[in-house]
Protein backbone atom coordinates (compact mmCIF):
# COMPACT_ATOMS: atom_id res chain seq x y z
CA UNK A 1 0.00 0.00 0.00
CA UNK A 2 1.48 3.37 -0.97
CA UNK A 3 0.95 6.47 1.09
CA UNK A 4 -1.31 7.73 -1.69
CA UNK A 5 -3.71 4.87 -1.08
CA UNK A 6 -6.68 6.32 0.76
CA UNK A 7 -8.71 3.15 0.81
CA UNK A 8 -7.35 -0.36 0.84
CA UNK A 9 -9.70 -3.31 1.06
CA UNK A 10 -8.00 -6.67 1.19
CA UNK A 11 -9.66 -10.09 1.05
CA UNK A 12 -12.85 -8.79 2.67
CA UNK A 13 -15.62 -11.24 3.51
CA UNK A 14 -18.85 -10.19 5.21
CA UNK A 15 -21.51 -12.75 6.05
CA UNK A 16 -24.99 -12.19 7.42
CA UNK A 17 -25.74 -15.58 8.85
CA UNK A 18 -25.78 -18.04 5.96
CA UNK A 19 -25.67 -15.25 3.36
CA UNK A 20 -22.25 -14.17 2.12
CA UNK A 21 -22.77 -10.55 1.15
CA UNK A 22 -19.11 -9.97 0.25
CA UNK A 23 -16.84 -12.79 -0.78
CA UNK A 24 -13.05 -12.19 -0.53
CA UNK A 25 -13.17 -8.73 -2.10
CA UNK A 26 -10.00 -6.69 -2.62
CA UNK A 27 -9.75 -3.20 -4.06
CA UNK A 28 -8.06 0.12 -3.46
CA UNK A 29 -8.62 3.78 -4.23
CA UNK A 30 -5.80 6.29 -4.62
CA UNK A 31 -5.72 9.99 -3.92
CA UNK A 32 -7.61 11.96 -6.56
CA UNK A 33 -9.07 8.82 -8.10
CA UNK A 34 -12.70 7.98 -8.78
CA UNK A 35 -13.70 4.35 -8.57
CA UNK A 36 -17.18 3.29 -9.58
CA UNK A 37 -18.61 0.26 -7.87
CA UNK A 38 -21.09 -1.48 -10.11
CA UNK A 39 -23.44 -4.30 -9.42
CA UNK A 40 -27.03 -5.46 -9.48
CA UNK A 41 -29.36 -4.96 -6.53
CA UNK A 42 -28.12 -7.04 -3.63
CA UNK A 43 -24.62 -7.41 -5.11
CA UNK A 44 -23.12 -6.11 -1.88
CA UNK A 45 -22.34 -2.47 -2.73
CA UNK A 46 -23.97 -0.94 0.34
CA UNK A 47 -22.49 -3.67 2.51
CA UNK A 48 -19.03 -2.70 1.29
CA UNK A 49 -19.66 0.93 2.26
CA UNK A 50 -20.92 -0.07 5.69
CA UNK A 51 -17.87 -2.26 6.22
CA UNK A 52 -15.57 0.61 5.21
CA UNK A 53 -17.31 2.81 7.78
CA UNK A 54 -16.62 0.26 10.48
CA UNK A 55 -20.24 -0.69 11.11
CA UNK A 56 -19.85 -4.40 10.37
CA UNK A 57 -17.95 -7.38 11.69
CA UNK A 58 -15.38 -8.55 9.13
CA UNK A 59 -15.38 -12.31 8.66
CA UNK A 60 -12.08 -12.21 6.81
CA UNK A 61 -9.72 -9.57 5.52
CA UNK A 62 -8.69 -6.05 6.43
CA UNK A 63 -9.72 -2.52 5.59
CA UNK A 64 -7.45 0.52 5.92
CA UNK A 65 -8.58 4.10 5.49
CA UNK A 66 -5.74 6.58 5.22
CA UNK A 67 -3.74 4.04 7.22
CA UNK A 68 -6.31 3.87 10.02
CA UNK A 69 -8.77 1.18 11.04
CA UNK A 70 -12.38 1.55 9.87
CA UNK A 71 -14.55 3.33 12.41
CA UNK A 72 -11.55 4.75 14.26
CA UNK A 73 -11.47 8.44 15.06
CA UNK A 74 -8.82 9.05 12.40
CA UNK A 75 -10.73 7.15 9.75
CA UNK A 76 -13.93 9.02 10.55
CA UNK A 77 -12.17 12.34 10.15
CA UNK A 78 -10.89 11.29 6.74
CA UNK A 79 -14.15 9.86 5.41
CA UNK A 80 -17.43 11.38 4.31
CA UNK A 81 -20.44 9.29 3.51
CA UNK A 82 -23.67 9.75 1.63
CA UNK A 83 -25.92 6.71 2.23
CA UNK A 84 -28.39 5.61 -0.40
CA UNK A 85 -31.96 6.88 -0.03
CA UNK A 86 -31.13 9.22 2.82
CA UNK A 87 -33.98 11.46 3.98
CA UNK A 88 -32.96 14.46 6.06
CA UNK A 89 -35.57 15.64 8.57
CA UNK A 90 -38.23 17.45 6.55
CA UNK A 91 -38.75 20.11 9.19
CA UNK A 92 -35.15 21.39 9.07
CA UNK A 93 -33.91 23.90 6.51
CA UNK A 94 -30.98 23.16 4.22
CA UNK A 95 -28.65 25.43 6.16
CA UNK A 96 -29.72 23.88 9.48
CA UNK A 97 -28.82 20.43 8.15
CA UNK A 98 -25.40 21.67 7.02
CA UNK A 99 -24.79 23.50 10.30
CA UNK A 100 -25.69 20.35 12.24
CA UNK A 101 -23.27 18.12 10.33
CA UNK A 102 -20.53 20.78 10.41
CA UNK A 103 -20.78 20.79 14.22
CA UNK A 104 -20.67 16.99 14.34
CA UNK A 105 -17.55 17.05 12.20
CA UNK A 106 -15.98 19.87 14.22
CA UNK A 107 -15.85 22.22 11.23
CA UNK A 108 -16.85 25.89 11.26
CA UNK A 109 -20.50 26.07 10.08
CA UNK A 110 -19.91 29.35 8.28
CA UNK A 111 -17.44 27.73 5.92
CA UNK A 112 -19.60 24.64 5.51
CA UNK A 113 -22.56 26.77 4.49
CA UNK A 114 -20.61 27.99 1.46
CA UNK A 115 -20.93 24.46 0.12
CA UNK A 116 -24.62 25.12 -0.52
CA UNK A 117 -23.37 27.61 -3.09
CA UNK A 118 -20.99 25.00 -4.52
CA UNK A 119 -23.75 22.48 -5.08
CA UNK A 120 -26.13 25.15 -6.36
CA UNK A 121 -28.87 25.23 -3.74
CA UNK A 122 -27.87 28.41 -1.89
CA UNK A 123 -31.17 30.02 -2.92
CA UNK A 124 -33.12 27.33 -1.09
CA UNK A 125 -30.93 27.27 2.03
CA UNK A 126 -33.60 28.88 4.21
CA UNK A 127 -36.33 26.57 2.97
CA UNK A 128 -37.35 23.37 4.69
CA UNK A 129 -35.95 20.15 3.25
CA UNK A 130 -39.54 18.90 2.93
CA UNK A 131 -40.04 21.35 0.06
CA UNK A 132 -36.92 20.19 -1.84
CA UNK A 133 -36.99 18.16 -5.05
CA UNK A 134 -35.18 14.84 -5.18
CA UNK A 135 -32.28 16.46 -7.03
CA UNK A 136 -31.98 19.22 -4.45
CA UNK A 137 -31.98 16.70 -1.63
CA UNK A 138 -29.12 14.78 -3.25
CA UNK A 139 -27.21 18.03 -3.71
CA UNK A 140 -27.76 18.78 -0.03
CA UNK A 141 -26.47 15.28 0.73
CA UNK A 142 -23.38 15.95 -1.36
CA UNK A 143 -22.81 19.34 0.32
CA UNK A 144 -23.00 17.53 3.64
CA UNK A 145 -20.46 14.99 2.43
CA UNK A 146 -18.09 17.73 1.29
CA UNK A 147 -17.90 19.43 4.70
CA UNK A 148 -14.33 19.66 5.93
CA UNK A 149 -12.75 18.57 2.65
CA UNK A 150 -12.77 14.82 3.24
CA UNK A 151 -9.94 12.69 1.87
CA UNK A 152 -12.27 9.86 0.94
CA UNK A 153 -15.82 10.34 -0.31
CA UNK A 154 -18.17 7.38 -0.14
CA UNK A 155 -21.28 7.91 -2.22
CA UNK A 156 -23.81 5.08 -2.27
CA UNK A 157 -25.99 5.28 -5.38
CA UNK A 158 -25.94 9.07 -5.24
CA UNK A 159 -27.73 9.56 -8.54
CA UNK A 160 -30.43 6.92 -8.40
CA UNK A 161 -33.79 8.50 -9.10
CA UNK A 162 -32.31 11.64 -10.63
CA UNK A 163 -33.15 12.81 -14.13
CA UNK A 164 -30.30 12.68 -16.68
CA UNK A 165 -29.52 16.39 -16.43
CA UNK A 166 -29.29 16.46 -12.62
CA UNK A 167 -27.25 13.29 -12.88
CA UNK A 168 -24.76 14.95 -15.23
CA UNK A 169 -24.49 17.96 -12.97
CA UNK A 170 -23.97 15.71 -9.98
CA UNK A 171 -21.07 13.95 -11.68
CA UNK A 172 -19.56 17.30 -12.65
CA UNK A 173 -19.54 18.21 -8.96
CA UNK A 174 -17.92 14.91 -8.03
CA UNK A 175 -15.37 15.47 -10.77
CA UNK A 176 -14.49 18.88 -9.32
CA UNK A 177 -13.98 17.37 -5.86
CA UNK A 178 -11.78 14.60 -7.20
CA UNK A 179 -9.63 17.13 -9.03
CA UNK A 180 -9.04 18.83 -5.68
CA UNK A 181 -7.46 15.61 -4.47
CA UNK A 182 -10.21 13.60 -2.81
CA UNK A 183 -10.56 9.91 -3.51
CA UNK A 184 -14.09 8.99 -4.51
CA UNK A 185 -15.78 5.61 -4.25
CA UNK A 186 -19.28 5.68 -5.66
CA UNK A 187 -21.74 2.98 -6.45
CA UNK A 188 -24.32 2.68 -9.15
CA UNK A 189 -26.38 0.02 -10.77
CA UNK A 190 -27.11 2.24 -13.70
CA UNK A 191 -24.23 1.21 -15.86
CA UNK A 192 -23.79 3.65 -18.68
CA UNK A 193 -24.03 6.65 -16.40
CA UNK A 194 -20.59 6.22 -14.86
CA UNK A 195 -18.89 5.77 -18.21
CA UNK A 196 -16.42 8.61 -18.74
CA UNK A 197 -17.27 9.87 -15.26
CA UNK A 198 -14.90 7.61 -13.38
CA UNK A 199 -11.30 6.49 -13.66
CA UNK A 200 -11.83 2.86 -12.84
CA UNK A 201 -14.72 0.52 -12.30
CA UNK A 202 -15.12 -2.48 -10.04
CA UNK A 203 -17.91 -4.90 -10.80
CA UNK A 204 -19.54 -6.83 -7.98
CA UNK A 205 -21.76 -9.79 -8.67
CA UNK A 206 -23.40 -11.68 -5.81
CA UNK A 207 -20.75 -10.44 -3.41
CA UNK A 208 -17.79 -11.36 -5.63
CA UNK A 209 -15.54 -8.89 -7.36
CA UNK A 210 -15.74 -10.14 -10.94
CA UNK A 211 -13.78 -7.39 -12.67
CA UNK A 212 -11.76 -4.36 -11.77
CA UNK A 213 -9.79 -1.91 -13.83
CA UNK A 214 -9.97 0.83 -16.42
CA UNK A 215 -13.02 0.61 -18.54
CA UNK A 216 -11.06 0.45 -21.79
CA UNK A 217 -8.89 -2.33 -20.39
CA UNK A 218 -11.92 -4.27 -19.21
CA UNK A 219 -13.54 -3.89 -22.60
CA UNK A 220 -10.34 -5.07 -24.28
CA UNK A 221 -9.97 -8.02 -21.93
CA UNK A 222 -13.58 -9.02 -22.52
CA UNK A 223 -12.76 -8.94 -26.28
CA UNK A 224 -16.23 -7.74 -27.06
CA UNK A 225 -16.76 -7.14 -30.75
CA UNK A 226 -17.37 -3.75 -32.25
CA UNK A 227 -20.73 -3.77 -33.98
CA UNK A 228 -21.03 -2.25 -37.44
CA UNK A 229 -24.56 -1.59 -38.64
CA UNK A 230 -24.94 -1.14 -42.34
CA UNK A 231 -28.04 0.43 -43.84
CA UNK A 232 -28.87 -0.87 -47.30
CA UNK A 233 -29.84 1.49 -50.06
CA UNK A 234 -33.39 1.00 -51.38
CA UNK A 235 -34.36 -1.16 -48.43
CA UNK A 236 -32.67 -4.16 -49.98
CA UNK A 237 -31.08 -5.78 -46.95
CA UNK A 238 -31.14 -9.21 -48.53
CA UNK A 239 -28.81 -8.19 -51.33
CA UNK A 240 -26.49 -6.52 -48.87
CA UNK A 241 -26.59 -9.50 -46.57
CA UNK A 242 -25.64 -11.79 -49.45
CA UNK A 243 -22.58 -9.60 -50.12
CA UNK A 244 -21.23 -8.97 -46.64
CA UNK A 245 -22.69 -11.69 -44.39
CA UNK A 246 -23.37 -10.88 -40.74
CA UNK A 247 -26.86 -10.64 -39.26
CA UNK A 248 -29.89 -9.27 -41.06
CA UNK A 249 -31.69 -7.11 -38.48
CA UNK A 250 -34.65 -5.97 -40.61
CA UNK A 251 -35.48 -4.97 -44.16
CA UNK A 252 -32.88 -2.22 -44.20
CA UNK A 253 -30.20 -3.11 -41.62
CA UNK A 254 -27.41 -5.66 -41.53
CA UNK A 255 -25.09 -5.99 -38.54
CA UNK A 256 -21.47 -7.15 -38.56
CA UNK A 257 -19.21 -8.00 -35.64
CA UNK A 258 -15.59 -7.04 -35.90
CA UNK A 259 -12.60 -7.10 -33.59
CA UNK A 260 -10.82 -3.88 -32.60
CA UNK A 261 -7.91 -4.78 -34.89
CA UNK A 262 -9.79 -5.21 -38.16
CA UNK A 263 -12.18 -2.30 -37.91
CA UNK A 264 -10.47 -0.36 -40.70
CA UNK A 265 -10.38 -3.38 -43.00
CA UNK A 266 -14.11 -3.93 -42.56
CA UNK A 267 -14.86 -0.28 -43.17
CA UNK A 268 -12.85 -0.07 -46.37
CA UNK A 269 -14.54 -3.23 -47.65
CA UNK A 270 -17.91 -1.60 -46.97
CA UNK A 271 -16.83 1.61 -48.66
CA UNK A 272 -15.79 -0.37 -51.73
CA UNK A 273 -19.32 -1.66 -52.09
CA UNK A 274 -20.35 1.80 -53.23
CA UNK A 275 -24.02 2.23 -54.07
CA UNK A 276 -25.47 -0.67 -52.07
CA UNK A 277 -24.68 1.02 -48.75
CA UNK A 278 -26.70 4.01 -47.60
CA UNK A 279 -25.17 4.54 -44.19
CA UNK A 280 -22.81 3.01 -41.65
CA UNK A 281 -23.12 3.11 -37.86
CA UNK A 282 -20.37 1.90 -35.55
CA UNK A 283 -21.16 0.83 -32.04
CA UNK A 284 -18.25 0.28 -29.71
CA UNK A 285 -18.94 -1.90 -26.69
CA UNK A 286 -20.36 0.13 -23.85
CA UNK A 287 -20.20 -0.33 -20.17
CA UNK A 288 -23.53 -2.12 -20.24
CA UNK A 289 -22.07 -4.78 -22.50
CA UNK A 290 -18.88 -5.04 -20.52
CA UNK A 291 -20.89 -5.28 -17.32
CA UNK A 292 -23.14 -7.99 -18.73
CA UNK A 293 -20.12 -9.88 -19.94
CA UNK A 294 -18.46 -9.88 -16.52
CA UNK A 295 -21.46 -10.41 -14.31
CA UNK A 296 -23.01 -13.30 -16.20
CA UNK A 297 -22.40 -16.67 -14.59
CA UNK A 298 -19.75 -18.76 -16.41
CA UNK A 299 -21.34 -21.05 -18.97
CA UNK A 300 -21.21 -24.77 -18.08
CA UNK A 301 -18.21 -26.33 -19.77
CA UNK A 302 -16.13 -23.14 -19.58
CA UNK A 303 -12.79 -23.74 -18.00
CA UNK A 304 -12.74 -22.14 -14.56
Amino acid sequence: MTNETLLGVDDLTIAFGPLTALDHVSLSVQKGERLALLGHNGAGKSTLFRAILGFLFLNTGTIRIADAAPGSERARRAVSYLPEAVAFPKALTGSEVITYFARLKGEPPRKALELLETVGIADASKRRVGTYSKGMRQRLGLAQALIGRPDLLLLDEPTSGLDPISRGEFYDLVDRVARQGAAVLLSSHSLTEVEAKTDRVAILSKGRLVAEGRLADLAGAAALPIKVRVRAKGADADALHAKIGGRRLNGRLVELDCGTGDKMAVLSRLAALGDVVADIEIETPRLDDVYRHYSKPPAPGDAA
Binding site: L53, V86, A87, A91, Y100, F101, R103, G106
Partner: protein, 278 residues
Protein backbone atom coordinates in the same frame (compact mmCIF):
# COMPACT_ATOMS: atom_id res chain seq x y z
CA UNK B 1 -14.67 20.92 24.24
CA UNK B 2 -15.29 19.20 20.90
CA UNK B 3 -17.38 16.67 22.74
CA UNK B 4 -19.55 19.33 24.40
CA UNK B 5 -20.13 21.13 21.13
CA UNK B 6 -21.21 17.89 19.45
CA UNK B 7 -23.59 17.07 22.32
CA UNK B 8 -24.97 20.61 22.05
CA UNK B 9 -25.42 20.20 18.28
CA UNK B 10 -27.43 17.00 18.76
CA UNK B 11 -29.52 18.45 21.61
CA UNK B 12 -30.14 21.62 19.65
CA UNK B 13 -31.35 19.72 16.59
CA UNK B 14 -33.68 17.57 18.72
CA UNK B 15 -35.33 20.59 20.38
CA UNK B 16 -35.61 22.36 17.05
CA UNK B 17 -37.30 19.34 15.50
CA UNK B 18 -39.63 19.02 18.48
CA UNK B 19 -40.68 22.63 18.23
CA UNK B 20 -41.05 22.54 14.42
CA UNK B 21 -43.17 19.43 14.69
CA UNK B 22 -45.36 21.22 17.26
CA UNK B 23 -44.47 18.77 20.05
CA UNK B 24 -43.52 21.59 22.42
CA UNK B 25 -46.81 23.37 21.87
CA UNK B 26 -48.84 20.18 22.11
CA UNK B 27 -47.15 18.96 25.31
CA UNK B 28 -47.55 22.37 26.96
CA UNK B 29 -51.19 22.59 25.96
CA UNK B 30 -51.97 19.14 27.31
CA UNK B 31 -50.40 19.94 30.68
CA UNK B 32 -52.06 23.38 30.93
CA UNK B 33 -55.51 22.09 30.02
CA UNK B 34 -55.47 19.09 32.34
CA UNK B 35 -54.06 21.13 35.22
CA UNK B 36 -56.69 23.85 34.75
CA UNK B 37 -59.43 21.25 34.50
CA UNK B 38 -58.29 19.70 37.78
CA UNK B 39 -58.09 23.07 39.49
CA UNK B 40 -61.42 24.51 38.37
CA UNK B 41 -63.70 21.70 37.19
CA UNK B 42 -63.21 18.90 39.72
CA UNK B 43 -64.79 18.68 43.14
CA UNK B 44 -63.17 22.06 43.58
CA UNK B 45 -60.78 23.04 46.31
CA UNK B 46 -63.08 25.84 47.46
CA UNK B 47 -64.71 25.00 50.79
CA UNK B 48 -62.08 22.48 51.86
CA UNK B 49 -60.73 23.30 55.26
CA UNK B 50 -57.18 23.33 56.37
CA UNK B 51 -55.27 23.36 53.09
CA UNK B 52 -55.10 26.13 50.51
CA UNK B 53 -56.46 25.75 47.01
CA UNK B 54 -52.93 25.81 45.67
CA UNK B 55 -51.87 22.91 47.88
CA UNK B 56 -54.97 20.87 47.15
CA UNK B 57 -54.59 21.24 43.40
CA UNK B 58 -50.93 20.22 43.72
CA UNK B 59 -52.06 17.03 45.41
CA UNK B 60 -54.45 16.02 42.66
CA UNK B 61 -51.97 17.16 40.03
CA UNK B 62 -49.39 14.77 41.50
CA UNK B 63 -51.73 11.89 40.64
CA UNK B 64 -52.56 13.20 37.18
CA UNK B 65 -48.89 13.78 36.36
CA UNK B 66 -48.17 10.09 36.86
CA UNK B 67 -50.24 9.44 33.69
CA UNK B 68 -49.51 12.54 31.64
CA UNK B 69 -45.77 13.15 32.05
CA UNK B 70 -44.62 9.60 31.17
CA UNK B 71 -46.91 9.61 28.15
CA UNK B 72 -45.53 12.93 26.90
CA UNK B 73 -41.94 11.84 27.58
CA UNK B 74 -42.41 8.60 25.63
CA UNK B 75 -44.13 10.41 22.77
CA UNK B 76 -41.20 12.82 22.54
CA UNK B 77 -38.51 10.17 22.49
CA UNK B 78 -39.70 6.87 21.02
CA UNK B 79 -38.92 7.89 17.45
CA UNK B 80 -35.53 9.41 18.08
CA UNK B 81 -33.28 6.53 16.95
CA UNK B 82 -35.70 4.21 15.14
CA UNK B 83 -36.72 7.21 13.02
CA UNK B 84 -33.12 7.88 12.05
CA UNK B 85 -32.72 4.23 11.08
CA UNK B 86 -35.84 4.41 8.92
CA UNK B 87 -34.74 7.62 7.22
CA UNK B 88 -31.20 6.23 6.85
CA UNK B 89 -29.67 9.29 8.53
CA UNK B 90 -28.20 7.22 11.39
CA UNK B 91 -25.33 5.74 9.32
CA UNK B 92 -24.61 9.25 8.10
CA UNK B 93 -24.41 10.59 11.65
CA UNK B 94 -22.36 7.62 12.85
CA UNK B 95 -19.90 8.11 9.99
CA UNK B 96 -18.92 11.49 11.45
CA UNK B 97 -16.48 11.79 14.37
CA UNK B 98 -19.34 12.05 16.89
CA UNK B 99 -19.35 9.32 19.56
CA UNK B 100 -22.41 7.22 20.23
CA UNK B 101 -22.52 8.31 23.86
CA UNK B 102 -22.50 11.94 22.70
CA UNK B 103 -25.44 11.32 20.39
CA UNK B 104 -27.41 9.62 23.14
CA UNK B 105 -26.69 12.29 25.76
CA UNK B 106 -27.47 15.03 23.24
CA UNK B 107 -30.79 13.45 22.34
CA UNK B 108 -31.61 12.91 26.02
CA UNK B 109 -30.82 16.52 26.94
CA UNK B 110 -32.76 17.84 23.95
CA UNK B 111 -35.87 15.94 24.98
CA UNK B 112 -35.46 16.94 28.63
CA UNK B 113 -35.29 20.57 27.51
CA UNK B 114 -38.56 20.19 25.61
CA UNK B 115 -40.21 18.39 28.50
CA UNK B 116 -38.98 21.00 30.99
CA UNK B 117 -40.33 23.87 28.93
CA UNK B 118 -43.70 22.11 28.63
CA UNK B 119 -43.87 21.31 32.36
CA UNK B 120 -42.68 24.68 33.64
CA UNK B 121 -44.87 26.67 31.25
CA UNK B 122 -47.88 24.33 31.47
CA UNK B 123 -47.97 23.93 35.25
CA UNK B 124 -46.73 27.49 35.70
CA UNK B 125 -49.72 28.92 33.85
CA UNK B 126 -52.13 26.67 35.73
CA UNK B 127 -50.52 27.54 39.08
CA UNK B 128 -50.70 31.25 38.31
CA UNK B 129 -54.39 30.91 37.44
CA UNK B 130 -55.15 29.12 40.72
CA UNK B 131 -53.22 31.80 42.63
CA UNK B 132 -55.13 34.58 40.87
CA UNK B 133 -58.51 33.08 41.73
CA UNK B 134 -57.91 31.57 45.18
CA UNK B 135 -54.97 33.57 46.50
CA UNK B 136 -51.30 32.84 47.19
CA UNK B 137 -49.76 30.78 49.94
CA UNK B 138 -46.08 29.90 50.29
CA UNK B 139 -46.67 26.24 51.14
CA UNK B 140 -48.75 25.79 48.01
CA UNK B 141 -46.15 27.51 45.86
CA UNK B 142 -43.50 25.20 47.28
CA UNK B 143 -45.69 22.18 46.53
CA UNK B 144 -46.04 23.29 42.88
CA UNK B 145 -42.32 23.88 42.55
CA UNK B 146 -41.65 20.42 43.98
CA UNK B 147 -44.20 18.97 41.60
CA UNK B 148 -42.58 20.60 38.59
CA UNK B 149 -39.02 19.63 39.52
CA UNK B 150 -39.82 16.01 40.38
CA UNK B 151 -42.15 15.90 37.37
CA UNK B 152 -39.17 16.68 35.14
CA UNK B 153 -37.21 13.92 36.89
CA UNK B 154 -40.09 11.50 36.27
CA UNK B 155 -40.16 12.67 32.65
CA UNK B 156 -36.41 12.12 32.38
CA UNK B 157 -36.86 8.49 33.43
CA UNK B 158 -39.42 7.95 30.69
CA UNK B 159 -37.38 9.82 28.07
CA UNK B 160 -34.57 7.39 28.90
CA UNK B 161 -37.01 4.47 28.54
CA UNK B 162 -38.20 5.94 25.23
CA UNK B 163 -34.63 6.17 23.94
CA UNK B 164 -33.98 2.58 25.02
CA UNK B 165 -37.08 1.42 23.12
CA UNK B 166 -36.07 3.50 20.13
CA UNK B 167 -32.60 1.95 20.05
CA UNK B 168 -34.06 -1.54 20.33
CA UNK B 169 -35.98 -1.68 17.06
CA UNK B 170 -35.33 -0.38 13.57
CA UNK B 171 -39.05 0.29 13.04
CA UNK B 172 -40.82 3.38 14.31
CA UNK B 173 -44.13 1.49 14.31
CA UNK B 174 -42.72 -1.23 16.57
CA UNK B 175 -41.28 1.40 18.86
CA UNK B 176 -44.70 3.06 19.10
CA UNK B 177 -46.38 -0.23 19.93
CA UNK B 178 -43.77 -1.00 22.60
CA UNK B 179 -44.29 2.49 24.00
CA UNK B 180 -48.00 1.98 24.50
CA UNK B 181 -47.33 -1.38 26.14
CA UNK B 182 -44.71 0.00 28.50
CA UNK B 183 -46.89 2.94 29.48
CA UNK B 184 -49.85 0.66 30.20
CA UNK B 185 -47.68 -1.75 32.15
CA UNK B 186 -45.78 0.76 34.29
CA UNK B 187 -48.46 3.36 34.79
CA UNK B 188 -51.77 1.50 34.78
CA UNK B 189 -51.43 -2.27 35.19
CA UNK B 190 -48.73 -2.10 37.87
CA UNK B 191 -51.02 -0.08 40.13
CA UNK B 192 -53.96 -2.37 39.44
CA UNK B 193 -51.84 -5.36 40.41
CA UNK B 194 -50.76 -3.64 43.62
CA UNK B 195 -54.36 -2.77 44.38
CA UNK B 196 -55.39 -6.38 43.82
CA UNK B 197 -52.60 -7.46 46.18
CA UNK B 198 -53.84 -5.09 48.85
CA UNK B 199 -57.40 -6.35 48.59
CA UNK B 200 -56.42 -10.01 48.72
CA UNK B 201 -53.91 -9.45 51.52
CA UNK B 202 -56.36 -7.37 53.58
CA UNK B 203 -53.87 -5.62 55.84
CA UNK B 204 -51.43 -8.50 56.28
CA UNK B 205 -47.69 -8.90 55.60
CA UNK B 206 -47.85 -7.73 52.00
CA UNK B 207 -49.54 -4.46 52.93
CA UNK B 208 -47.12 -3.58 55.69
CA UNK B 209 -43.71 -4.50 54.26
CA UNK B 210 -43.64 -5.47 50.60
CA UNK B 211 -46.23 -3.04 49.30
CA UNK B 212 -44.35 0.19 50.19
CA UNK B 213 -41.22 -1.16 48.52
CA UNK B 214 -43.16 -2.13 45.40
CA UNK B 215 -44.58 1.39 45.35
CA UNK B 216 -41.17 3.09 45.32
CA UNK B 217 -39.90 0.55 42.84
CA UNK B 218 -42.26 1.98 40.22
CA UNK B 219 -41.16 5.40 38.91
CA UNK B 220 -44.67 6.87 38.66
CA UNK B 221 -45.68 5.66 42.12
CA UNK B 222 -42.38 6.83 43.60
CA UNK B 223 -43.02 10.30 42.18
CA UNK B 224 -46.55 10.41 43.58
CA UNK B 225 -45.47 9.04 46.94
CA UNK B 226 -42.73 11.63 47.33
CA UNK B 227 -45.00 14.53 46.46
CA UNK B 228 -47.92 13.42 48.61
CA UNK B 229 -45.68 12.63 51.57
CA UNK B 230 -44.09 16.07 51.30
CA UNK B 231 -47.50 17.73 51.07
CA UNK B 232 -48.75 15.88 54.08
CA UNK B 233 -45.78 16.95 56.11
CA UNK B 234 -46.78 20.58 55.61
CA UNK B 235 -50.57 20.46 55.51
CA UNK B 236 -53.29 17.88 56.06
CA UNK B 237 -54.57 16.85 52.66
CA UNK B 238 -57.55 14.63 52.24
CA UNK B 239 -56.82 11.43 50.38
CA UNK B 240 -53.24 10.77 51.47
CA UNK B 241 -54.38 8.97 54.64
CA UNK B 242 -51.35 9.65 56.75
CA UNK B 243 -49.19 8.06 54.08
CA UNK B 244 -45.88 9.51 55.18
CA UNK B 245 -46.26 8.36 58.78
CA UNK B 246 -47.02 4.78 57.77
CA UNK B 247 -43.97 4.47 55.47
CA UNK B 248 -41.22 2.17 56.70
CA UNK B 249 -38.59 4.43 55.05
CA UNK B 250 -37.98 8.17 54.50
CA UNK B 251 -39.82 9.62 51.45
CA UNK B 252 -36.51 10.75 49.99
CA UNK B 253 -35.90 7.10 49.14
CA UNK B 254 -38.58 7.54 46.48
CA UNK B 255 -36.42 10.20 44.83
CA UNK B 256 -33.40 7.92 45.02
CA UNK B 257 -35.48 5.22 43.31
CA UNK B 258 -36.33 7.65 40.49
CA UNK B 259 -32.66 8.56 40.08
CA UNK B 260 -31.81 4.85 40.05
CA UNK B 261 -34.34 4.22 37.28
CA UNK B 262 -32.82 7.07 35.29
CA UNK B 263 -29.28 5.74 35.56
CA UNK B 264 -30.29 2.17 34.73
CA UNK B 265 -32.44 3.14 31.73
CA UNK B 266 -29.83 5.50 30.30
CA UNK B 267 -27.11 2.86 30.65
CA UNK B 268 -29.32 0.23 29.05
CA UNK B 269 -30.10 2.64 26.21
CA UNK B 270 -26.41 3.33 25.66
CA UNK B 271 -25.58 -0.37 25.72
CA UNK B 272 -28.24 -1.08 23.06
CA UNK B 273 -27.18 1.87 20.98
CA UNK B 274 -23.53 0.80 21.10
CA UNK B 275 -24.45 -2.64 19.79
CA UNK B 276 -26.50 -1.26 16.92
CA UNK B 277 -25.02 -1.97 13.48
CA UNK B 278 -26.55 0.54 11.08
Amino acid sequence: MKSLSRIAAVANTETRLASRNRWVLLATLILVLFALALAFLGAGPAGSRGASALTLTAASLATLSVYLIPLIALLLSYETIAGEIERNTLPLVLATPVRRSEILIGKFLGHIAVLSVATVVGYGIAGAAVTLVHGFDPGGALAWTRLIVTGILLGAVFVAIGILVSASTPRVGTAAALLVGIWLLLVVLYDLALLAGLIVDDGGMFTKTIFPLLVVANPGDAFRLFNLAALEASAPVAGTDGLARSLPFPPALALAALAGWLVVMLSAGLARFRRLRP
